[in-house]
């Protein structure tokens, strides 16, 4: 059985920041974290259904189980920061505040989709929200993300780039080429390894000689922190620490977020590589939304009814998005030939 998400925490031998403390959220912040995680989960569940109905085609990678990672990290960003990730990107967009309707409409391949229906699940972008994809080639987003960080440094602002990649991408060569240059040039970038334990069907310890992925930057003098990615407050705490480090010009930092995806790698995953019991175990004991819910109720400031109301509100947003995504028109055939080049030659 693969290692489940853990609360054991570790840091690298390279001098870095002190190990982060969990974020002390006020009740409004905690409610907002809960709402965002719930929105992602309900959105993804609906996307899975629409895939089953044939309304969504191709590859569709769901984020269910990993919600605390993007919500904890991205709630700490400021205007002008850049975010880039791989193909499991729906949650990253929703957490940035992008309208669920245009995300869902992209999944159904409609003109109102955020990429006009030309990108699909794996290729979504928003110049308005500083979201740079949505990349289908495993690992490409890491060097692209360092390019975004390079631009921040070149322009002399104190913005940072957040480059997410998985435990699978962590074995790609260009990741290490990028680590080298990012540290050499002290680029303002946080490398976020979303370790959901499986690269498609291959568990981390079957694919990685060093399976403690937060150590992967050590040869490049990049400090790393291993964080429980199933607790939104621990993630947010790590985000605060990492952003302070990187914004201060100390160069890149590596965060390994130990998390878990409940669904298959993509919709066509037969899931032969792990047991149902393993998934159930994590769902029951480590689920990020249930954990957050328990914190809210324990505070005494939020009631079951409050949460039911919130749930209803989130469901309505997702129903609207799904309805919109199925009724809004497909792209005009003339769109076939637009957006290939920006210039006229």
């Amino acid at each position: 059985m693969a290692k489940a998400a853990t609360k054991d925490v570790q840091t690298t031998r390279i001098a870095g920041p002190d190990f982060p403390k969990p974020y002390k959220a006020n009740i409004d912040e905690l409610k907002e974290f809960y709402r965002q995680m719930l929105l992602i989960r309900r959105f993804e569940e609906r996307a899975g259904q629409l895939y089953g109905l044939g309304a969504i085609g191709g590859f569709c990678h769901l984020y269910i189980g990993q919600e605390a990672v993007v919500v904890g990290l991205q709630s700490a960003l400021k205007k002008g920061d850049s975010v880039i990730t791989g193909y499991r990107d729906h949650g990253h967009m929703l957490s940035l505040g992008i309208d669920p309707k245009v995300v869902m409409a992209e999944l159904t391949g409609r003109a109102a989709g955020i990429s006009k229906g030309k990108g699909g699940s794996m290729h979504m972008f928003s110049s308005e929200f500083g979201f740079y994809g949505g990349h289908g080639i495993v690992g490409a987003q890491v060097s692209l993300g360092a390019g975004l960080a390079f631009a921040h440094k070149y322009n002399g602002n104190d913005n940072v780039a957040l480059a997410y990649f998985g435990d699978g991408a962590a074995n790609q060569g260009q990741v290490y080429e990028t680590f080298n240059m990012a540290e050499l040039w002290k680029l303002p970038i946080i490398f976020v390894i979303e370790n959901n334990q499986y690269a498609m069907g291959t568990s981390v310890n079957r694919a990685s000689a060093e399976d403690q992925l937060f150590r992967r930057g050590e040869s490049f003098r990049i400090p790393g922190l291993q964080i429980n990615g199933m607790d939104v407050l621990e993630v947010r705490g790590a985000a605060e620490t990492a952003l302070e480090w990187v914004r201060a010009g100390k160069g890149p930092l590596l965060l390994e977020l130990k998390t878990y995806r409940y669904r298959g790698h993509s919709m066509s995953d037969p899931a032969k590589y792990r047991s149902k019991e393993e998934v159930e175990q994590i769902r029951e004991h480590s689920d990020c939304i249930e954990h957050c819910k328990a914190l809210l109720l324990a505070s005494g400031k939020v009631t079951e009814d409050d949460l039911k109301a919130l749930d209803k509100q989130v469901r309505a947003i997702v129903v609207d998005a799904a309805e919109f995504a199925q009724s809004t028109p497909e792209p005009d055939p003339l769109e076939l030939y637009t957006d290939i080049l920006k210039g006229a030659y």
Partner: protein, 455 residues
């Protein structure tokens, strides 16, 4: 015994050089391995060591004399106390300038050597280069420098572009004018820095990414195609990628198969890319300026063998439009279509054909994508015969594409089948004779023209 020191070849393509500075004078005693001169080559300033020890009997070429051919004797080293009797050079008669430096040496003898080692014009004196006869590598450098002066978002990144002054000296002087924040040496890590370049373009900058050669860009090709070329489309027009990937492409000289490939057809097949392959210095400059200003990703394919060639370059801020071919030479009997170094072969073939009464029109494609179909088809309409000349492999080549274009849109104008004249369909060999056999040649062009002329 008197030993002659010859100007050595210091790079695969070096044909001539300049003695930037003598570090010894006649009568000095030198030890084996002592540096006796600085030699300015087409790529760098290098130190020349004496293999033997002895007394400098004669300096035969003055410092500052340009265009000294490789193999020219430049100094005599005698044994201590020996009478100096220069031998006849095995290269006599080959270097046309042999006597000139000797005379110059007489004048310079015993005097301070003139210091004209760096003839490049001062970079920052004028925002735009004055009209002049300059090398293609200088034209490329001027294009980058001018655009960097105009737009602070433009920067250059690549291996050895800064402190080394460019592996092929194309970025010479840029570090000195623009500083290390805008002229950036990278580790040897093509995949990584190509991705960083594309990311920086997404982030609003205007990167110029130099590949030491396009052979090494194969390590990075995912970013050129999947990241740079496709993202604007996949984002519904949100993510433009204004980036230039440039560097030498195609065969150089005796560097073997892995360093000698023409990637024009590869990149030209990809929607979302602009692909440019200039022939002369004026185009290299004007098209590179256009490439840097383009909002789209540009693959800019240079040719190492052309870097040292001198051409007239017009004065001022001249930007050559992307996507427009040009007629290099008017003709009426046959059209030769080519690009990059193939244009030189085509022009030479046209000259020879003219002597035989055949009038060849030469079309320089300049841009491989978007391809200027109109100019190609208009020329065919005029001549009714076409030969495509390409320094590259035949299968799935630009020549194949032109041939298909003519089949689809110019069939009725054809009086003979279109012929492709290309390199042989083999990896480029190292041995001099085999390399010559493998590469496209002027005589092949002439033979093909005669074939389509039924002569």
């Amino acid at each position: 015994m008197v030993t002659e020191i010859f100007l050595p070849a210091m790079s695969p393509t070096m044909e001539e050089g300049t003695i930037a500075k003598w570090l010894v004078t006649e009568g000095d005693t030198v030890k084996p391995g002592q540096v006796i001169a600085e030699i300015e080559t087409d790529k760098a300033t290098m130190e020349l060591e004496s293999d033997d020890g002895g007394v400098v009997a004669k300096l035969m070429v003055a410092a500052g004399v340009e265009g000294v051919k490789v193999g020219t004797p430049i100094a005599l080293i005698a044994e201590v106390g020996e009478d100096i009797q220069p031998k006849s050079s095995p290269f006599k008669g080959e270097g046309a300038r042999l006597n000139e430096p000797l005379e110059a040496n007489l004048v310079a003898a015993g005097k301070e050597p003139p210091l004209v080692a760096h003839p490049s014009p001062a970079l920052a004196d004028h925002p735009f280069q004055q009209g002049a006869s300059i090398t293609l590598r200088e034209a490329l450098r001027d294009a980058m420098a001018e655009e960097m002066r105009l737009d602070s978002r433009v920067f250059v990144m690549g291996e050895e572009v800064a402190e080394y002054q460019g592996a092929y000296k194309v970025t010479q002087g840029l570090l000195q004018e623009f500083g290390p924040a805008r002229v950036i040496d990278t580790p040897i890590t093509e995949h990584g820095f190509a991705g960083i370049g594309v990311g920086a373009a997404f982030g609003g900058l205007r990167p110029i990414i130099e590949f030491m050669t396009f052979n090494f860009a194969m390590q990075a090709i995912d970013h050129l195609i999947n990241s740079a070329a496709k993202t604007n489309y996949m984002s519904g027009g949100q993510m433009g990628c204004p980036i230039v990937f440039r560097g030498p492409n195609g065969a150089a000289s005796r560097v073997g198969a892995q360093h000698s490939q023409n990637y024009g057809p590869w990149y030209a097949s990809v929607p979302g890319l602009i692909v440019i392959a200039p022939y002369d210095a004026a185009d290299a400059k004007g098209l590179l300026k256009a490439a840097i200003r383009s909002p789209d990703p540009v693959v800019f394919l240079e040719n190492e063998l052309l870097y040292g060639k001198t051409f007239e370059v017009p004065e001022g801020d001249v930007v050559v439009p992307i996507g427009k071919a040009r007629i290099m030479r008017e003709g009426s009997d046959v059209t030769l279509v080519s690009y990059s170094i193939g244009v030189a072969l085509s022009l030479e073939a046209a000259d020879k054909l003219a002597a035989e009464g055949i009038s060849a029109e030469v079309v320089d494609l300049r841009t491989l994508r978007p391809l200027d179909r109109d100019t190609v088809l208009a020329s065919l309409k005029k001549t009714n015969r076409m030969v495509v000349v390409e320094e590259g492999w035949p299968q799935c080549s630009i020549a194949s594409e032109i041939t298909a274009l003519v089949m689809e849109h110019g069939f009725d104008d054809l009086d003979a089948p279109v012929l492709r004249v290309t390199n042989k369909d083999v990896p480029l060999p190292y041995a001099k004779n085999l390399e010559t056999l493998a590469l496209v040649k002027t005589d092949d062009v002439i033979a093909a023209v005669k074939h389509v002329m039924y002569r």
